[in-house]
Protein backbone atom coordinates (compact mmCIF):
# COMPACT_ATOMS: atom_id res chain seq x y z
CA UNK A 1 0.00 0.00 0.00
CA UNK A 2 2.82 2.35 0.98
CA UNK A 3 4.51 1.59 -2.33
CA UNK A 4 1.41 2.48 -4.29
CA UNK A 5 0.99 5.77 -2.38
CA UNK A 6 4.59 6.52 -3.29
CA UNK A 7 3.90 5.82 -6.91
CA UNK A 8 0.89 8.09 -6.94
CA UNK A 9 2.95 10.75 -5.21
CA UNK A 10 5.68 10.40 -7.82
CA UNK A 11 3.06 10.59 -10.53
CA UNK A 12 1.43 13.69 -9.12
CA UNK A 13 4.83 15.35 -8.59
CA UNK A 14 5.79 14.34 -12.08
CA UNK A 15 2.66 15.93 -13.43
CA UNK A 16 3.24 19.17 -11.55
CA UNK A 17 6.74 19.39 -13.01
CA UNK A 18 5.39 18.31 -16.38
CA UNK A 19 3.77 21.73 -16.76
CA UNK A 20 7.13 23.47 -16.97
CA UNK A 21 9.44 20.85 -18.45
CA UNK A 22 8.49 17.67 -20.24
CA UNK A 23 11.70 15.73 -19.65
CA UNK A 24 10.83 14.59 -16.12
CA UNK A 25 7.77 12.40 -16.67
CA UNK A 26 9.07 8.93 -17.56
CA UNK A 27 5.81 7.20 -18.44
CA UNK A 28 5.89 6.47 -22.17
CA UNK A 29 2.15 6.00 -22.39
CA UNK A 30 1.22 9.14 -20.45
CA UNK A 31 3.75 11.11 -22.51
CA UNK A 32 2.22 9.81 -25.70
CA UNK A 33 -1.32 10.61 -24.55
CA UNK A 34 -0.29 14.10 -23.51
CA UNK A 35 1.65 14.94 -26.68
CA UNK A 36 -0.74 13.41 -29.21
CA UNK A 37 -3.97 14.33 -27.47
CA UNK A 38 -5.25 10.85 -28.30
CA UNK A 39 -5.31 7.38 -26.79
CA UNK A 40 -5.92 4.01 -28.45
CA UNK A 41 -8.32 1.69 -26.66
CA UNK A 42 -8.30 -2.00 -27.61
CA UNK A 43 -11.85 -3.38 -27.78
CA UNK A 44 -13.52 -6.66 -28.75
CA UNK A 45 -16.08 -7.05 -31.53
CA UNK A 46 -18.50 -9.42 -29.86
CA UNK A 47 -17.72 -10.02 -26.19
CA UNK A 48 -21.19 -9.11 -24.97
CA UNK A 49 -21.59 -7.41 -22.48
CA UNK A 50 -17.94 -6.78 -21.57
CA UNK A 51 -16.76 -5.17 -24.79
CA UNK A 52 -18.53 -5.22 -28.15
CA UNK A 53 -19.59 -3.18 -31.13
CA UNK A 54 -23.01 -1.57 -31.25
CA UNK A 55 -22.61 -0.93 -34.99
CA UNK A 56 -21.12 1.94 -37.03
CA UNK A 57 -17.65 1.32 -35.47
CA UNK A 58 -18.99 2.35 -32.09
CA UNK A 59 -18.00 0.25 -29.11
CA UNK A 60 -19.54 -0.16 -25.70
CA UNK A 61 -19.71 -2.54 -22.78
CA UNK A 62 -18.92 -2.95 -19.10
CA UNK A 63 -15.14 -2.73 -19.51
CA UNK A 64 -15.34 -0.13 -22.29
CA UNK A 65 -17.42 2.22 -20.14
CA UNK A 66 -15.07 1.75 -17.18
CA UNK A 67 -12.11 2.50 -19.48
CA UNK A 68 -13.78 5.69 -20.69
CA UNK A 69 -14.20 6.75 -17.04
CA UNK A 70 -10.53 5.91 -16.36
CA UNK A 71 -9.35 7.85 -19.40
CA UNK A 72 -11.54 10.80 -18.37
CA UNK A 73 -9.81 10.77 -15.01
CA UNK A 74 -6.35 10.60 -16.66
CA UNK A 75 -7.32 13.45 -18.99
CA UNK A 76 -8.12 15.63 -15.97
CA UNK A 77 -4.89 14.60 -14.25
CA UNK A 78 -2.84 15.53 -17.29
CA UNK A 79 -4.66 18.86 -17.44
CA UNK A 80 -5.88 18.27 -20.98
CA UNK A 81 -9.05 19.90 -22.27
CA UNK A 82 -9.90 17.12 -24.72
CA UNK A 83 -8.71 13.56 -25.20
CA UNK A 84 -9.62 11.71 -28.39
CA UNK A 85 -10.25 7.99 -27.92
CA UNK A 86 -9.45 5.79 -30.94
CA UNK A 87 -11.04 2.35 -30.81
CA UNK A 88 -8.94 -0.53 -32.14
CA UNK A 89 -10.76 -3.89 -32.42
CA UNK A 90 -8.54 -6.75 -31.22
CA UNK A 91 -8.85 -10.55 -31.22
CA UNK A 92 -7.78 -13.26 -28.78
CA UNK A 93 -4.75 -13.85 -30.99
CA UNK A 94 -3.46 -10.30 -31.49
CA UNK A 95 -4.39 -8.49 -28.28
CA UNK A 96 -1.15 -9.23 -26.38
CA UNK A 97 1.22 -8.34 -29.28
CA UNK A 98 -0.71 -5.12 -29.98
CA UNK A 99 -0.34 -3.96 -26.38
CA UNK A 100 3.31 -5.06 -26.35
CA UNK A 101 4.23 -3.04 -29.43
CA UNK A 102 2.32 0.05 -28.29
CA UNK A 103 -0.41 0.02 -30.96
CA UNK A 104 -2.96 -0.27 -28.16
CA UNK A 105 -2.48 1.80 -24.98
CA UNK A 106 -5.22 0.21 -22.90
CA UNK A 107 -7.09 -2.98 -23.77
CA UNK A 108 -10.64 -3.15 -22.45
CA UNK A 109 -11.88 -6.57 -23.47
CA UNK A 110 -12.10 -9.94 -21.74
CA UNK A 111 -8.46 -10.77 -21.08
CA UNK A 112 -7.62 -13.20 -18.27
CA UNK A 113 -4.84 -11.89 -16.05
CA UNK A 114 -2.47 -14.87 -15.80
CA UNK A 115 1.22 -15.37 -15.06
CA UNK A 116 2.14 -16.30 -18.65
CA UNK A 117 0.70 -13.04 -20.02
CA UNK A 118 2.16 -11.17 -17.07
CA UNK A 119 5.60 -11.70 -18.64
CA UNK A 120 4.55 -9.66 -21.69
CA UNK A 121 1.99 -7.13 -20.46
CA UNK A 122 0.66 -5.45 -17.33
CA UNK A 123 -2.84 -5.60 -15.84
CA UNK A 124 -4.96 -3.07 -13.95
CA UNK A 125 -6.81 -4.02 -10.77
CA UNK A 126 -9.47 -6.66 -11.42
CA UNK A 127 -13.09 -5.49 -11.63
CA UNK A 128 -14.62 -8.67 -12.96
CA UNK A 129 -14.02 -12.24 -11.86
CA UNK A 130 -15.10 -14.81 -14.42
CA UNK A 131 -16.39 -18.25 -13.58
CA UNK A 132 -16.14 -20.94 -16.23
CA UNK A 133 -19.50 -22.73 -16.44
CA UNK A 134 -21.37 -25.30 -18.54
CA UNK A 135 -24.24 -24.31 -20.84
CA UNK A 136 -26.66 -27.06 -21.92
CA UNK A 137 -30.08 -27.29 -23.54
CA UNK A 138 -32.93 -26.69 -21.08
CA UNK A 139 -34.24 -30.27 -21.53
CA UNK A 140 -30.80 -31.82 -20.94
CA UNK A 141 -30.18 -33.91 -17.82
CA UNK A 142 -26.57 -32.72 -17.46
CA UNK A 143 -26.21 -31.13 -14.04
CA UNK A 144 -22.47 -31.15 -13.38
CA UNK A 145 -19.13 -31.97 -14.97
CA UNK A 146 -19.49 -35.67 -14.04
CA UNK A 147 -22.62 -35.92 -16.21
CA UNK A 148 -20.55 -35.06 -19.28
CA UNK A 149 -19.30 -38.67 -19.41
CA UNK A 150 -19.88 -40.01 -22.92
CA UNK A 151 -21.17 -36.67 -24.23
CA UNK A 152 -19.85 -34.15 -26.73
CA UNK A 153 -18.44 -31.00 -25.21
CA UNK A 154 -17.88 -27.80 -27.19
CA UNK A 155 -15.44 -25.01 -26.50
CA UNK A 156 -13.85 -22.24 -28.55
CA UNK A 157 -10.45 -22.67 -30.20
CA UNK A 158 -7.82 -20.36 -28.73
CA UNK A 159 -9.31 -20.04 -25.24
CA UNK A 160 -8.13 -21.27 -21.85
CA UNK A 161 -11.37 -23.24 -21.47
CA UNK A 162 -10.15 -25.90 -23.92
CA UNK A 163 -7.22 -26.75 -21.65
CA UNK A 164 -9.50 -26.56 -18.64
CA UNK A 165 -11.91 -29.22 -19.91
CA UNK A 166 -8.93 -31.41 -20.77
CA UNK A 167 -7.68 -31.09 -17.19
CA UNK A 168 -11.12 -31.90 -15.78
CA UNK A 169 -11.39 -34.91 -18.06
CA UNK A 170 -8.19 -36.28 -16.58
CA UNK A 171 -8.84 -35.31 -12.96
CA UNK A 172 -12.42 -36.63 -12.88
CA UNK A 173 -11.53 -39.66 -15.03
CA UNK A 174 -14.44 -39.14 -17.41
CA UNK A 175 -14.57 -39.61 -21.15
CA UNK A 176 -16.11 -37.17 -23.59
CA UNK A 177 -15.51 -36.00 -27.12
CA UNK A 178 -14.27 -32.44 -27.52
CA UNK A 179 -15.56 -30.33 -30.40
CA UNK A 180 -14.19 -26.91 -31.19
CA UNK A 181 -15.92 -23.82 -32.55
CA UNK A 182 -13.80 -21.23 -34.30
CA UNK A 183 -15.44 -18.45 -32.26
CA UNK A 184 -18.01 -18.23 -29.45
CA UNK A 185 -20.96 -17.83 -31.81
CA UNK A 186 -19.79 -20.94 -33.64
CA UNK A 187 -19.42 -22.97 -30.44
CA UNK A 188 -22.92 -21.93 -29.45
CA UNK A 189 -24.16 -23.02 -32.88
CA UNK A 190 -22.61 -26.46 -32.15
CA UNK A 191 -24.75 -26.65 -29.00
CA UNK A 192 -27.83 -25.26 -30.75
CA UNK A 193 -27.64 -27.73 -33.67
CA UNK A 194 -27.04 -30.69 -31.36
CA UNK A 195 -23.47 -31.31 -32.55
CA UNK A 196 -22.46 -30.76 -28.90
CA UNK A 197 -24.32 -31.59 -25.69
CA UNK A 198 -22.62 -28.88 -23.64
CA UNK A 199 -20.66 -25.67 -24.17
CA UNK A 200 -17.97 -24.92 -21.59
CA UNK A 201 -16.96 -21.26 -21.48
CA UNK A 202 -16.80 -18.11 -19.38
CA UNK A 203 -20.15 -17.49 -17.66
CA UNK A 204 -20.63 -14.00 -19.15
CA UNK A 205 -20.05 -15.31 -22.69
CA UNK A 206 -22.51 -18.17 -22.15
CA UNK A 207 -25.08 -15.77 -20.71
CA UNK A 208 -24.53 -13.34 -23.59
CA UNK A 209 -24.94 -16.05 -26.24
CA UNK A 210 -28.03 -17.47 -24.57
CA UNK A 211 -29.54 -13.98 -24.35
CA UNK A 212 -28.88 -13.54 -28.09
CA UNK A 213 -30.34 -16.94 -29.06
CA UNK A 214 -33.59 -17.33 -31.00
CA UNK A 215 -35.24 -18.73 -27.91
CA UNK A 216 -33.20 -18.08 -24.74
CA UNK A 217 -35.50 -20.35 -22.69
CA UNK A 218 -34.12 -23.39 -24.56
CA UNK A 219 -30.80 -23.12 -22.73
CA UNK A 220 -29.55 -23.09 -19.16
CA UNK A 221 -26.25 -22.74 -17.31
CA UNK A 222 -25.50 -25.54 -14.87
CA UNK A 223 -22.90 -26.88 -12.45
CA UNK A 224 -20.27 -25.54 -10.13
CA UNK A 225 -17.76 -23.07 -11.61
CA UNK A 226 -14.98 -25.14 -13.22
CA UNK A 227 -12.49 -22.34 -12.73
CA UNK A 228 -12.33 -18.79 -11.45
CA UNK A 229 -10.33 -16.25 -13.43
CA UNK A 230 -9.71 -12.53 -12.98
CA UNK A 231 -10.61 -10.61 -16.18
CA UNK A 232 -8.71 -7.35 -16.19
CA UNK A 233 -7.94 -4.30 -18.27
CA UNK A 234 -4.62 -4.91 -20.05
CA UNK A 235 -1.88 -2.26 -19.98
CA UNK A 236 1.65 -1.98 -21.36
CA UNK A 237 4.29 -3.66 -19.20
CA UNK A 238 6.98 -1.62 -17.44
CA UNK A 239 4.94 1.56 -17.25
CA UNK A 240 4.25 1.74 -13.50
CA UNK A 241 3.13 5.37 -13.65
CA UNK A 242 0.43 4.65 -16.20
CA UNK A 243 -0.71 1.61 -14.20
CA UNK A 244 -0.77 3.71 -11.03
CA UNK A 245 -2.89 6.34 -12.78
CA UNK A 246 -5.31 3.68 -14.05
CA UNK A 247 -5.53 1.95 -10.66
CA UNK A 248 -6.10 5.28 -8.92
CA UNK A 249 -8.96 6.00 -11.32
CA UNK A 250 -10.40 2.51 -10.67
CA UNK A 251 -10.16 3.06 -6.90
CA UNK A 252 -12.06 6.31 -7.34
CA UNK A 253 -14.82 4.65 -9.39
CA UNK A 254 -15.21 1.91 -6.77
CA UNK A 255 -15.16 4.38 -3.89
CA UNK A 256 -17.89 6.47 -5.48
CA UNK A 257 -20.11 3.39 -5.44
CA UNK A 258 -20.41 3.20 -9.22
CA UNK A 259 -19.71 -0.51 -9.58
CA UNK A 260 -23.15 -1.93 -8.55
CA UNK A 261 -24.75 0.59 -10.94
CA UNK A 262 -22.43 -0.46 -13.76
CA UNK A 263 -23.17 -4.12 -13.08
CA UNK A 264 -26.88 -3.45 -13.13
CA UNK A 265 -26.60 -1.52 -16.38
CA UNK A 266 -24.58 -4.11 -18.32
CA UNK A 267 -25.53 -7.46 -16.83
CA UNK A 268 -29.10 -7.09 -15.61
CA UNK A 269 -30.74 -4.46 -17.85
CA UNK A 270 -31.48 -4.34 -21.59
CA UNK A 271 -28.31 -3.34 -23.43
CA UNK A 272 -27.81 -1.82 -26.89
CA UNK A 273 -28.10 -2.46 -29.78
CA UNK A 274 -30.88 -5.08 -29.58
CA UNK A 275 -32.02 -4.46 -26.02
CA UNK A 276 -31.22 -7.97 -24.80
CA UNK A 277 -30.72 -8.77 -21.11
CA UNK A 278 -27.65 -10.84 -20.26
CA UNK A 279 -29.07 -11.76 -16.86
CA UNK A 280 -25.91 -12.70 -15.00
CA UNK A 281 -26.17 -12.09 -11.25
CA UNK A 282 -23.25 -10.45 -9.45
CA UNK A 283 -21.02 -13.25 -8.13
CA UNK A 284 -19.45 -13.20 -4.65
CA UNK A 285 -16.01 -13.46 -6.30
CA UNK A 286 -16.53 -10.26 -8.29
CA UNK A 287 -17.95 -8.50 -5.24
CA UNK A 288 -14.86 -9.54 -3.32
CA UNK A 289 -12.60 -8.15 -6.05
CA UNK A 290 -14.30 -4.73 -5.74
CA UNK A 291 -13.97 -4.76 -1.96
CA UNK A 292 -10.28 -5.72 -2.06
CA UNK A 293 -8.84 -4.21 -5.25
CA UNK A 294 -5.86 -6.22 -6.48
CA UNK A 295 -4.10 -7.32 -9.68
CA UNK A 296 -3.40 -10.92 -8.69
CA UNK A 297 -3.09 -13.32 -11.65
CA UNK A 298 -5.38 -16.33 -12.16
CA UNK A 299 -2.80 -18.66 -10.59
CA UNK A 300 -3.38 -16.99 -7.20
CA UNK A 301 -7.11 -17.70 -7.42
CA UNK A 302 -6.51 -21.44 -7.78
CA UNK A 303 -4.56 -21.61 -4.53
CA UNK A 304 -7.44 -20.01 -2.67
Amino acid sequence: MFKRMNLILVLVLGLIVFGSTSSIASSLTLDKIKSSGAVTMGVRESSIPMSYTTGDSRFDGYHVEICRMILGDIKDKLGMSTLRINYQPVTSQNRVPLVQNGTVDIECGTTTNNAARGKDVGFADTLYVEEVRIAVKANSNIKSIEDLNGKKVASTTGTTSVQLIRKNKKAKDIQFEEVYGKDHADSFLLLETGRADAFVMDGSILAGNIANAKNPKDFKIVGEPLSVEPIAIMLPKNDPEFKAAVDAAIAKIVKNGNMPKLWNKWFLSPIPPKGIVVGLELSPATKNAWAHLNDKPAEDYVAK
Partner: protein, 263 residues
Protein backbone atom coordinates in the same frame (compact mmCIF):
# COMPACT_ATOMS: atom_id res chain seq x y z
CA UNK B 1 14.24 -12.69 -29.62
CA UNK B 2 15.04 -16.00 -28.04
CA UNK B 3 13.18 -19.03 -29.34
CA UNK B 4 12.32 -21.75 -26.88
CA UNK B 5 11.36 -24.98 -28.61
CA UNK B 6 11.39 -26.73 -25.22
CA UNK B 7 7.65 -26.05 -25.01
CA UNK B 8 7.04 -28.99 -27.35
CA UNK B 9 8.36 -31.36 -24.68
CA UNK B 10 5.89 -30.09 -22.09
CA UNK B 11 2.65 -31.90 -21.39
CA UNK B 12 -0.65 -30.34 -22.38
CA UNK B 13 -2.25 -30.50 -18.93
CA UNK B 14 -0.04 -28.60 -16.50
CA UNK B 15 3.03 -27.67 -18.55
CA UNK B 16 5.41 -30.16 -16.86
CA UNK B 17 8.23 -31.68 -18.92
CA UNK B 18 7.32 -35.17 -20.20
CA UNK B 19 9.57 -38.24 -19.84
CA UNK B 20 9.61 -39.36 -23.46
CA UNK B 21 9.62 -36.33 -25.68
CA UNK B 22 10.98 -37.72 -28.94
CA UNK B 23 10.75 -41.46 -28.33
CA UNK B 24 6.97 -41.23 -27.93
CA UNK B 25 6.42 -39.91 -31.46
CA UNK B 26 8.56 -42.74 -32.83
CA UNK B 27 6.34 -45.18 -30.98
CA UNK B 28 9.14 -46.39 -28.67
CA UNK B 29 7.56 -45.19 -25.42
CA UNK B 30 4.37 -43.53 -24.27
CA UNK B 31 3.83 -40.41 -22.21
CA UNK B 32 1.26 -40.66 -19.44
CA UNK B 33 -0.03 -37.25 -20.54
CA UNK B 34 0.46 -36.16 -24.17
CA UNK B 35 3.08 -33.50 -24.88
CA UNK B 36 2.65 -30.63 -27.34
CA UNK B 37 4.91 -32.56 -29.72
CA UNK B 38 2.57 -35.59 -29.54
CA UNK B 39 -0.34 -33.27 -30.21
CA UNK B 40 1.49 -31.60 -33.12
CA UNK B 41 2.15 -34.96 -34.76
CA UNK B 42 -1.46 -36.10 -34.34
CA UNK B 43 -2.61 -32.74 -35.75
CA UNK B 44 -0.32 -33.31 -38.75
CA UNK B 45 -1.91 -36.73 -39.16
CA UNK B 46 -5.37 -35.13 -39.32
CA UNK B 47 -4.17 -32.61 -41.91
CA UNK B 48 -2.75 -35.43 -44.05
CA UNK B 49 -5.88 -37.56 -43.62
CA UNK B 50 -8.26 -34.76 -44.62
CA UNK B 51 -6.02 -33.70 -47.55
CA UNK B 52 -5.51 -37.29 -48.69
CA UNK B 53 -9.22 -38.11 -48.69
CA UNK B 54 -10.00 -34.77 -50.32
CA UNK B 55 -7.38 -35.34 -53.02
CA UNK B 56 -8.70 -38.83 -53.83
CA UNK B 57 -12.26 -37.47 -54.22
CA UNK B 58 -11.00 -34.45 -56.18
CA UNK B 59 -8.94 -36.42 -58.70
CA UNK B 60 -11.60 -39.04 -59.43
CA UNK B 61 -14.43 -36.50 -59.77
CA UNK B 62 -12.19 -33.90 -61.46
CA UNK B 63 -11.14 -36.27 -64.25
CA UNK B 64 -14.71 -37.50 -64.69
CA UNK B 65 -16.25 -34.00 -64.83
CA UNK B 66 -13.42 -32.64 -66.98
CA UNK B 67 -13.91 -35.45 -69.51
CA UNK B 68 -17.70 -35.02 -69.50
CA UNK B 69 -17.29 -31.31 -70.31
CA UNK B 70 -15.52 -32.17 -73.58
CA UNK B 71 -18.13 -34.67 -74.86
CA UNK B 72 -19.38 -34.00 -78.41
CA UNK B 73 -23.01 -32.81 -78.27
CA UNK B 74 -24.21 -35.36 -80.79
CA UNK B 75 -26.57 -37.32 -78.52
CA UNK B 76 -29.22 -36.21 -76.02
CA UNK B 77 -27.55 -38.13 -73.22
CA UNK B 78 -24.22 -36.37 -73.97
CA UNK B 79 -25.96 -32.99 -73.93
CA UNK B 80 -27.43 -33.86 -70.58
CA UNK B 81 -24.00 -34.92 -69.22
CA UNK B 82 -22.42 -31.72 -70.60
CA UNK B 83 -25.01 -29.65 -68.79
CA UNK B 84 -24.55 -31.60 -65.56
CA UNK B 85 -20.74 -31.30 -65.56
CA UNK B 86 -20.90 -27.58 -66.39
CA UNK B 87 -23.29 -27.03 -63.47
CA UNK B 88 -20.99 -29.06 -61.21
CA UNK B 89 -17.94 -26.96 -62.07
CA UNK B 90 -19.69 -23.61 -61.86
CA UNK B 91 -21.39 -24.49 -58.57
CA UNK B 92 -18.33 -25.74 -56.72
CA UNK B 93 -15.75 -23.28 -57.96
CA UNK B 94 -17.90 -20.18 -57.42
CA UNK B 95 -18.52 -20.66 -53.69
CA UNK B 96 -15.71 -19.89 -51.22
CA UNK B 97 -14.30 -23.04 -49.66
CA UNK B 98 -15.10 -22.01 -46.07
CA UNK B 99 -18.74 -21.41 -47.00
CA UNK B 100 -18.88 -24.85 -48.62
CA UNK B 101 -17.43 -26.41 -45.47
CA UNK B 102 -20.12 -24.74 -43.36
CA UNK B 103 -22.81 -25.81 -45.84
CA UNK B 104 -21.76 -29.44 -45.51
CA UNK B 105 -21.39 -29.23 -41.74
CA UNK B 106 -24.42 -27.23 -40.63
CA UNK B 107 -26.87 -26.64 -43.47
CA UNK B 108 -27.12 -29.88 -45.44
CA UNK B 109 -27.35 -32.11 -42.30
CA UNK B 110 -30.31 -29.98 -41.22
CA UNK B 111 -32.17 -31.27 -44.31
CA UNK B 112 -30.67 -34.78 -44.38
CA UNK B 113 -30.52 -35.85 -40.70
CA UNK B 114 -28.47 -39.05 -41.26
CA UNK B 115 -25.54 -36.81 -42.28
CA UNK B 116 -25.35 -35.60 -38.66
CA UNK B 117 -23.83 -38.94 -37.71
CA UNK B 118 -21.06 -38.60 -40.31
CA UNK B 119 -17.74 -37.59 -38.65
CA UNK B 120 -16.78 -33.99 -39.43
CA UNK B 121 -13.52 -34.96 -41.15
CA UNK B 122 -15.52 -36.84 -43.82
CA UNK B 123 -17.71 -33.82 -44.43
CA UNK B 124 -14.65 -31.54 -44.70
CA UNK B 125 -12.91 -34.00 -47.04
CA UNK B 126 -16.02 -34.03 -49.23
CA UNK B 127 -16.20 -30.24 -49.27
CA UNK B 128 -12.50 -29.96 -50.11
CA UNK B 129 -12.74 -32.75 -52.68
CA UNK B 130 -15.75 -31.23 -54.48
CA UNK B 131 -14.23 -27.74 -54.47
CA UNK B 132 -10.92 -28.99 -55.86
CA UNK B 133 -12.64 -31.35 -58.34
CA UNK B 134 -14.19 -28.32 -60.06
CA UNK B 135 -10.75 -26.81 -60.53
CA UNK B 136 -9.17 -30.09 -61.67
CA UNK B 137 -12.07 -30.59 -64.10
CA UNK B 138 -11.20 -27.31 -65.81
CA UNK B 139 -7.55 -28.31 -66.08
CA UNK B 140 -8.45 -31.71 -67.53
CA UNK B 141 -10.79 -29.97 -69.99
CA UNK B 142 -7.94 -27.67 -71.03
CA UNK B 143 -5.64 -30.69 -71.37
CA UNK B 144 -8.14 -32.51 -73.58
CA UNK B 145 -8.69 -29.31 -75.60
CA UNK B 146 -4.98 -29.09 -76.32
CA UNK B 147 -4.92 -32.48 -78.07
CA UNK B 148 -5.09 -32.08 -81.88
CA UNK B 149 -8.59 -32.88 -83.18
CA UNK B 150 -7.05 -35.41 -85.57
CA UNK B 151 -6.55 -37.80 -82.63
CA UNK B 152 -10.29 -37.95 -81.96
CA UNK B 153 -11.07 -38.22 -85.65
CA UNK B 154 -8.53 -41.03 -86.06
CA UNK B 155 -10.05 -42.90 -83.10
CA UNK B 156 -13.52 -42.60 -84.65
CA UNK B 157 -12.15 -43.78 -88.01
CA UNK B 158 -10.75 -46.85 -86.28
CA UNK B 159 -14.26 -47.63 -85.08
CA UNK B 160 -13.72 -46.88 -81.36
CA UNK B 161 -16.76 -45.91 -79.33
CA UNK B 162 -16.75 -42.57 -77.43
CA UNK B 163 -15.92 -44.38 -74.19
CA UNK B 164 -13.06 -46.26 -75.87
CA UNK B 165 -11.79 -43.05 -77.49
CA UNK B 166 -11.52 -41.41 -74.08
CA UNK B 167 -10.11 -44.50 -72.38
CA UNK B 168 -7.44 -45.42 -74.94
CA UNK B 169 -6.66 -42.25 -76.87
CA UNK B 170 -7.64 -38.95 -75.27
CA UNK B 171 -7.28 -39.38 -71.49
CA UNK B 172 -3.85 -41.10 -71.50
CA UNK B 173 -2.37 -38.08 -73.29
CA UNK B 174 -4.47 -35.37 -71.62
CA UNK B 175 -3.68 -36.60 -68.12
CA UNK B 176 0.05 -36.50 -68.84
CA UNK B 177 -0.33 -32.93 -70.07
CA UNK B 178 -2.14 -31.76 -66.92
CA UNK B 179 0.29 -33.20 -64.37
CA UNK B 180 2.04 -29.83 -63.70
CA UNK B 181 -1.17 -27.87 -62.90
CA UNK B 182 -2.45 -30.92 -61.03
CA UNK B 183 0.64 -30.72 -58.81
CA UNK B 184 -0.16 -27.13 -57.83
CA UNK B 185 -3.77 -28.09 -57.22
CA UNK B 186 -2.74 -30.95 -54.90
CA UNK B 187 -0.45 -28.63 -52.98
CA UNK B 188 -3.26 -26.07 -52.78
CA UNK B 189 -5.53 -28.72 -51.35
CA UNK B 190 -3.13 -29.36 -48.45
CA UNK B 191 -3.08 -25.65 -47.69
CA UNK B 192 -6.86 -25.35 -48.10
CA UNK B 193 -7.32 -28.19 -45.60
CA UNK B 194 -6.64 -25.59 -42.89
CA UNK B 195 -10.32 -24.59 -43.14
CA UNK B 196 -11.10 -27.89 -41.39
CA UNK B 197 -10.30 -26.21 -38.07
CA UNK B 198 -13.55 -24.27 -38.42
CA UNK B 199 -15.61 -27.43 -38.05
CA UNK B 200 -13.68 -28.96 -35.21
CA UNK B 201 -11.19 -31.23 -36.99
CA UNK B 202 -8.13 -31.12 -34.68
CA UNK B 203 -5.65 -30.43 -37.51
CA UNK B 204 -2.55 -28.22 -37.69
CA UNK B 205 -4.27 -24.83 -37.80
CA UNK B 206 -6.46 -25.68 -34.82
CA UNK B 207 -3.37 -26.91 -33.00
CA UNK B 208 -1.54 -23.67 -33.80
CA UNK B 209 -4.38 -21.44 -32.56
CA UNK B 210 -4.91 -23.43 -29.38
CA UNK B 211 -1.28 -24.21 -28.49
CA UNK B 212 -0.10 -20.62 -28.96
CA UNK B 213 -2.79 -19.52 -26.50
CA UNK B 214 -1.87 -22.19 -23.93
CA UNK B 215 1.91 -21.88 -24.16
CA UNK B 216 2.27 -18.15 -24.99
CA UNK B 217 4.96 -19.27 -27.46
CA UNK B 218 3.11 -18.39 -30.64
CA UNK B 219 6.23 -17.89 -32.76
CA UNK B 220 7.64 -21.36 -32.06
CA UNK B 221 4.24 -22.99 -32.55
CA UNK B 222 3.61 -21.25 -35.88
CA UNK B 223 7.18 -22.00 -37.06
CA UNK B 224 6.66 -25.71 -36.40
CA UNK B 225 3.27 -25.72 -38.11
CA UNK B 226 4.66 -23.78 -41.10
CA UNK B 227 7.48 -26.31 -41.46
CA UNK B 228 5.02 -29.24 -41.47
CA UNK B 229 2.73 -27.61 -44.05
CA UNK B 230 5.73 -26.87 -46.27
CA UNK B 231 7.08 -30.40 -45.79
CA UNK B 232 3.72 -31.94 -46.74
CA UNK B 233 3.43 -29.77 -49.84
CA UNK B 234 7.02 -30.54 -50.90
CA UNK B 235 6.33 -34.24 -50.47
CA UNK B 236 3.33 -34.01 -52.82
CA UNK B 237 5.46 -32.04 -55.27
CA UNK B 238 8.13 -34.76 -55.19
CA UNK B 239 5.62 -37.60 -55.66
CA UNK B 240 4.06 -35.80 -58.63
CA UNK B 241 7.48 -35.19 -60.21
CA UNK B 242 8.26 -38.89 -59.91
CA UNK B 243 4.89 -39.78 -61.48
CA UNK B 244 5.50 -37.27 -64.26
CA UNK B 245 8.92 -38.79 -65.06
CA UNK B 246 7.77 -42.40 -64.82
CA UNK B 247 4.71 -41.90 -67.02
CA UNK B 248 6.46 -39.94 -69.73
CA UNK B 249 6.11 -41.32 -73.28
CA UNK B 250 9.02 -40.13 -75.45
CA UNK B 251 7.75 -38.10 -78.37
CA UNK B 252 4.16 -37.68 -77.19
CA UNK B 253 4.39 -34.90 -74.65
CA UNK B 254 7.82 -33.36 -74.98
CA UNK B 255 7.75 -30.39 -72.67
CA UNK B 256 10.79 -30.82 -70.47
CA UNK B 257 14.23 -29.99 -71.91
CA UNK B 258 15.77 -33.43 -71.41
CA UNK B 259 12.86 -35.03 -73.22
CA UNK B 260 13.64 -32.80 -76.21
CA UNK B 261 17.29 -33.82 -76.06
CA UNK B 262 16.27 -37.45 -76.48
CA UNK B 263 15.30 -36.71 -80.05
Amino acid sequence: MALDFGIFCKNTLDGGVVDHCFSSILGLAGNSDPSYLDWLISAWGWTLLVSGLGLAIAIVLGILMGALRTLPDTKVVYQWLLWFSTCWVELFRNIPIIVQVFLWYYVIPAFIPPLKAVPSFWLVSMALGFFTSARIAEQVRAGIGSIPSGQRAAATALGLTTLQTYRYVILPIALRIVIPPLTSESMNLIKNSSVAFAVSVPELTLFAMQAQEETSHGIEVYLAVTALYALSAFFVNWVMTVIEKRSRIPGVVSMSPDAKLAH
